[in-house]
C-alpha cells in the first residue's frame, strides 16, 4: 500500500515552464457556529484533469466547494485561480473567474425551458431575444462538440434527471466555465446515465477543461479521475494519482484509523426470526426507486448492521420498515406473519412492539419546542400511563420522563426544559430512552450517534448491545463504519438500493466493506 502524500503537495514535480494549477486552495478554514466544517484545507488542481474529491458524509467536501463557488466566504485561507490570488465573495465572481458548478440538488427552475434555464444570469442584454438566439446557437455547438444534445425548448421539469444534469453542465459551459465542479453528480443517476455523464466529462477534459468531481463512490473515482483527494472530518488527508492508488487504500484514507470504540460484547445468541423482509421496493418523494428488491432476516438477540454510503437506500429502507414510507412492492413479516397493510403505519407498529430511533432526531425524532417530557412520549402519547381519563396526568408524564432520563443519564435531568436546549448527545439519549424503555421486541435504529460526543457514544452503544443481550432484534443503520463494526453481529451492505453483500462481523474488515459499499459486487470482484 502506497503511503498517502501530504495534502496539497504534488507528487508529480512541476516543470517551471508549466502552466500554474487551475485552482489552488491554501489553508481554507470555515466554521458554522460550533461545527468546524473545514480545517486548514489545502488543495491543488491541475488544469485539464479530472480531480476527484472523496470523503464520507459530513467530511466537508460540499462546504469546501461552496467556498470555491462564493456561496460562503472562508474564515481564513486563500484561493488562487491559474496562479492568481482571488477573492470570491459571490457566485457572480466565481462565474467571472470561469468556475461553474453542478450542485447536488440541481439549481434549476423546473417550469422554465432549457433555454431559459441556461440563459438565466447570462442573458446578454436587457432583452431576451438576441441573447436567446446566441445561446440557442451556442447550445447547438456544445451539443455537437461534447455530445450534450438537449432540446432547448423542452421544459426542464419534464426532463429525466440525467438530462436535467446535462442542462446544469450546459449552464456552466455557456457561461464559459473552464473549471467545472460537480457535487455528487451520480447520486441521482441510473448507472447508464452515470456512464453517459462520464463520457461527457472525458470529452470536456479532452478540451482542456478542469473538472472537480465530488463523490463517495470509489468505483467512480477509479474509473474516471486522474487524481483524487481524500477528505475526512473537515480535513484534507491525502491526494493520490488515481493510477497509483487502489480502492482499499482510498477506503482506508476515507475511514481513517479512528479509535474504534471497544464494546465489551459477548457472543450473540440469535434466536428465531423476528423480522423478515422480502423483495422490498421503496420509492422516495420524487418517485425514484431507492430500495430495489431487498430481502433479509433479522433474528432475536442479534444486531444486524446495514452499512453503506449515505444515500444508497438505507434511509428509505428504515422509513419503510417503520411504517412511515409506503412499500412499492415486497412484504414485511413480523414473527413470521405478514404485516397487514392496515398495520403498516407507525402507530400500529409501535403497538406490536417495533421501536424506531429515526436517523434525524431534529427533523423527525423530537419536537424541538416541546418540553423534554413531551418529546419523551412522542408516539406513545396515547398510552394510559400518561393519564387514564380525558386529561393527561402531568405528574405521570414528568415522572415517566424523569425515569427515562435517569435510566439513560440524560443531562440536565430537567423534564421541563425545552428539548432544543439539550445537547445533541442528550437529545439522542432521550430518543433512545423513549424507544428502549417501552421494551419493543424489534428495534430499528438509524444513525444512533450522529453528532454525538464521545462519552455519549459509548453510553449509547452499551445500551444497544444490552438490548441485544436481552433478546431483542435490532436493525442498525449507520454510515459510520466503525459503529457498524463495534455493534453488529451481522452486516449487510447496501449500494444503489441493493444488497451488495452480507458478512459476519468477525469475518470482515473495513477494506472488504469499503469495496461492497463502493458497489464492487462480490461476485464481480
Amino acid at each position: 500500500m502506497a503511503a498517502p502524500v501530504a495534502a496539497g503537495e504534488d507528487r508529480v514535480t512541476t516543470d517551471a515552464g508549466r502552466a500554474p494549477p487551475a485552482i489552488e486552495l491554501i489553508g481554507i478554514d470555515k466554521s458554522f457556529g460550533p461545527v468546524h466544517a473545514n480545517k486548514n484545507v489545502n488543495l491543488r488542481v491541475e488544469r485539464g484533469v479530472i480531480h476527484g474529491i472523496v470523503g464520507e458524509n459530513g467530511a466537508g467536501k460540499s462546504t469546501l466547494m461552496s467556498i470555491l463557488y462564493g456561496f460562503y466566504e472562508a474564515d481564513a485561507g486563500e484561493i488562487r485561480i491559474n496562479g492568481e490570488p482571488v477573492r470570491i465573495r459571490s457566485s457572480k465572481e466565481a462565474i467571472s473567474h470561469g468556475i461553474g458548478m453542478v450542485h447536488q440538488h440541481f439549481m434549476l427552475v423546473y417550469p422554465l425551458s432549457v433555454l431559459d434555464n441556461v440563459m438565466l444570469g447570462a442573458e446578454g442584454g436587457p432583452l431576451l431575444a438576441n441573447g436567446a438566439n446566441a445561446i440557442r446557437r451556442r447550445l447547438a455547438e456544445l451539443g455537437k462538440e461534447y455530445g450534450l444534445e438537449v432540446d432547448p425548448d423542452a421544459i426542464v421539469g419534464e426532463l429525466s434527471v440525467g438530462l436535467q444534469q446535462r442542462v446544469e453542465i450546459l449552464k456552466a459551459l455557456v457561461r464559459g466555465a473552464e473549471i467545472l465542479v460537480l457535487d455528487e453528480p451520480t447520486a441521482v443517476l441510473t448507472p447508464a446515465e452515470a456512464d453517459q455523464l462520464f463520457e461527457m466529462l472525458r470529452v470536456l477534459k479532452s478540451e482542456n477543461k478542469t473538472i472537480i468531481f465530488i463523490t463517495h463512490k470509489l468505483r467512480e473515482i477509479m474509473s474516471l479521475t486522474d487524481r483524487v483527494s481524500v477528505m475526512r472530518r473537515g480535513e484534507m488527508v491525502a491526494t493520490f494519482d488515481t493510477a497509483r492508488t487502489s480502492p482499499p487504500e482510498l477506503a482506508d484514507a476515507m475511514v481513517g484509523r479512528k479509535v474504534i470504540l471497544k464494546i465489551d460484547k459477548s457472543e450473540a445468541h440469535p434466536g428465531r426470526v423476528a423480522l423478515e423482509v422480502r423483495n422490498l421496493v421503496v420509492r422516495d418523494d420524487r418517485d425514484v426507486v431507492r430500495v430495489n428488491g431487498v430481502s433479509f432476516v433479522l433474528r432475536e438477540g442479534e444486531i444486524l448492521g446495514v452499512a453503506g454510503v449515505a444515500g444508497n437506500g438505507q434511509s428509505e429502507l428504515l422509513e419503510a420498515l417503520a411504517g412511515i414510507r409506503p412499500l412499492s412492492a415486497g412484504e414485511i413479516l413480523v414473527d413470521g406473519e405478514p404485516l397487514p397493510p392496515a398495520e403498516h403505519n407507525p402507530h400500529a407498529e409501535r403497538l406490536i412492539g417495533i421501536g424506531h430511533v429515526p436517523e434525524d432526531r431534529h427533523r423527525v425524532g423530537l419536537v424541538m419546542p416541546f418540553e423534554a417530557c413531551e418529546s419523551a412520549m412522542l408516539g406513545f402519547h396515547y398510552e394510559t400511563v400518561y393519564g387514564r381519563g380525558l386529561l393527561y396526568d402531568r405528574k405521570a408524564i414528568i415522572d415517566d420522563a424523569e425515569h427515562k432520563m435517569e435510566a439513560f443519564d440524560v443531562r440536565p435531568r430537567a423534564p421541563l426544559l425545552k428539548t432544543a436546549n439539550f445537547s445533541g448527545g442528550n437529545q439522542q439519549k432521550l430518543v433512545l430512552a423513549r424507544e428502549i424503555e417501552r421494551n419493543p421486541k424489534i428495534m430499528l435504529v438509524g444513525q444512533p450517534t450522529r453528532g454525538v460526543d464521545i462519552g455519549a457514544i459509548e453510553f449509547i452503544h452499551k445500551r444497544i448491545v444490552a438490548q441485544r443481550d436481552a433478546g431483542k432484534a435490532l436493525l442498525l443503520v449507520s454510515v459510520e463504519l466503525d459503529e457498524i463494526f463495534a455493534l453488529s453481529d451481522r452486516i449487510i451492505v447496501l449500494c444503489g438500493g441493493r444488497i451488495t453483500g452480507e458478512r459476519r462481523a468477525e469475518d470482515t474488515n473495513a477494506q472488504d466493506l469499503g469495496l461492497l459499499m463502493a458497489g464492487v459486487d462480490e461476485r464481480a470482484a
Binding site: S66, M107, Y110, L120, G121
Partner: protein, 323 residues
C-alpha cells in the same frame, strides 16, 4: 339586436368594473411571481385611492393625485417587502396587517381632515380622470354591431382604463421577453437557482414589490379618481381579494388574468343589472349568488376540481441561503 345592445352595455359596465381588478391582479402577479405573497392588495388599493383623492382635493390635479396615490402604495408595498424579504416574516400576517392599518388609517385621516366620516369632498372635474371619446365614436357608432362595439366598448373610457389594458401586454412582454422578467419568474420558483447564477434574490424581490406597489396604486387611484369622484372609507369593498382570487384563477399568467378580471367585472355588472329582475324560466336569481361566484369558482379551482392552480413554488417562503 336589443339583446346585443344589452350585452354590449353590460360588457361595457363589466370593463369599467373590471379595471381595478386588472390593475390589482397584475400587481399581485408581479409580487407573487417573485415569491412574495401579497394578501395586502385590498389595503394597498384603499391606500392608493385615499392618497390619490386627498392630493387631488388639495391640488385640484388628477395627475398629482395619481402620483401621490402610487407613492403611498409603493411605501405600503415596501413595508410588506421589508417584512417579507428582510425580516423573513410570515407574509400572510404581514399582508393582514397592511390591510388593517390601511383600512383604519385612510378613514381616520380622511375624517380628521374633512370631518365627513372619512370621505373626501366631491372632486371637481379637473381633479378626475374623465372619459375620453375616441375619434369618430359618434359617427362611426351608428354602424351596427361594429360601430356599437367601438362606441360603447372601446371608446369612452378614461386614461387609467386604457393604461390598464396596455399594461397587460406590457406585463406579458416584460415577463417573457426581458431579462428582468426571466429572472423574476425564476426567483419565484427557485431562488437558490437565481442566487447561484450570481443574481441578487433580494434585489429582484424588492423590484417586484415596488412594481406591485405602482400597479395596485393605479388601481386605487382609479377607484377614487375615475370610477367615483371622491374617496370613501372601505371603498375597495373586497376588490383586492377578488383580484387575488382572479390571480389564482388565472394561474399567475397575464392574459388569463385579464380574461378572469373581465369575467369577474362582467359578473359584477350582471349582478347589478339582475337586481330584482325575473328571468324567464329561472325566476329571480339572487344577486348574491352571482356576486359570490368569483369566490366559489376560486375555491373550486384551488381544490383541484377543475384543473389545479399551482402557485409559484417559492411564493410565501422567505429565502435563506442553505448550507
Amino acid at each position: 339586436m336589443e339583446l346585443f345592445d344589452t350585452f354590449i352595455q353590460i360588457f361595457g359596465s363589466g370593463i369599467r368594473l373590471g379595471v381595478p381588478l386588472i390593475l390589482a391582479c397584475l400587481a399581485g402577479l408581479w409580487s407573487e411571481r417573485s415569491g412574495v405573497v401579497d394578501i395586502g392588495l385590498e389595503g394597498k388599493m384603499l391606500t392608493g385611492a385615499f392618497a390619490g383623492a386627498a392630493f387631488a382635493t388639495f391640488t385640484g390635479s388628477a395627475w398629482i393625485g395619481l402620483l401621490a396615490g402610487v407613492t403611498a402604495t409603493v411605501v405600503a408595498s415596501l413595508i410588506h417587502g421589508y417584512a417579507s424579504i428582510d425580516q423573513r416574516a410570515n407574509q400572510i400576517v404581514s399582508g393582514t396587517a397592511i390591510n388593517m392599518v390601511a383600512d383604519g388609517l385612510t378613514a381616520l385621516i380622511g375624517n380628521a381632515i374633512w370631518s365627513q366620516g372619512g370621505r373626501t369632498p366631491q372632486l371637481s372635474d379637473t381633479a378626475l380622470f374623465n372619459a375620453i371619446t375616441l375619434p369618430f365614436a359618434e359617427s362611426f357608432g351608428a354602424v351596427p354591431i361594429v360601430g356599437s362595439i367601438y362606441r360603447h366598448l372601446i371608446s369612452g373610457h378614461d386614461i387609467v382604463t386604457y393604461a390598464a389594458f396596455a399594461l397587460v401586454p406590457l406585463t406579458y412582454w416584460a415577463l417573457y421577453s426581458t431579462r428582468f422578467g426571466l429572472r423574476l419568474r425564476a426567483v419565484g420558483e427557485n431562488p437558490a437557482a437565481v442566487d447561484t447564477a450570481g443574481i441578487s434574490v433580494r434585489g429582484l424581490r424588492y423590484s417586484a414589490v415596488i412594481i406591485c406597489g405602482v400597479l395596485v396604486g393605479l388601481s386605487g387611484v382609479y377607484l377614487s379618481l375615475a370610477q367615483a369622484a371622491f374617496f370613501q372609507p372601505h371603498m375597495s369593498a373586497g376588490k383586492g381579494f377578488i383580484a387575488l382570487a382572479a390571480l389564482v384563477f388565472a394561474k399567475w399568467r397575464p392574459w388569463p388574468a385579464l380574461a378572469t378580471c373581465l369575467l369577474f367585472g362582467f359578473l359584477d355588472a350582471l349582478a347589478t343589472r339582475l337586481q330584482g329582475v325575473e328571468l324567464p324560466a329561472i325566476g329571480a336569481i339572487p344577486v348574491q349568488a352571482i356576486q359570490s361566484l368569483p369566490y366559489i369558482l376560486t375555491v373550486v379551482l384551488l381544490a383541484g376540481f377543475i384543473g389545479k392552480a399551482i402557485p409559484p413554488r417559492a411564493s410565501g417562503i422567505p429565502y435563506v441561503k442553505e448550507r
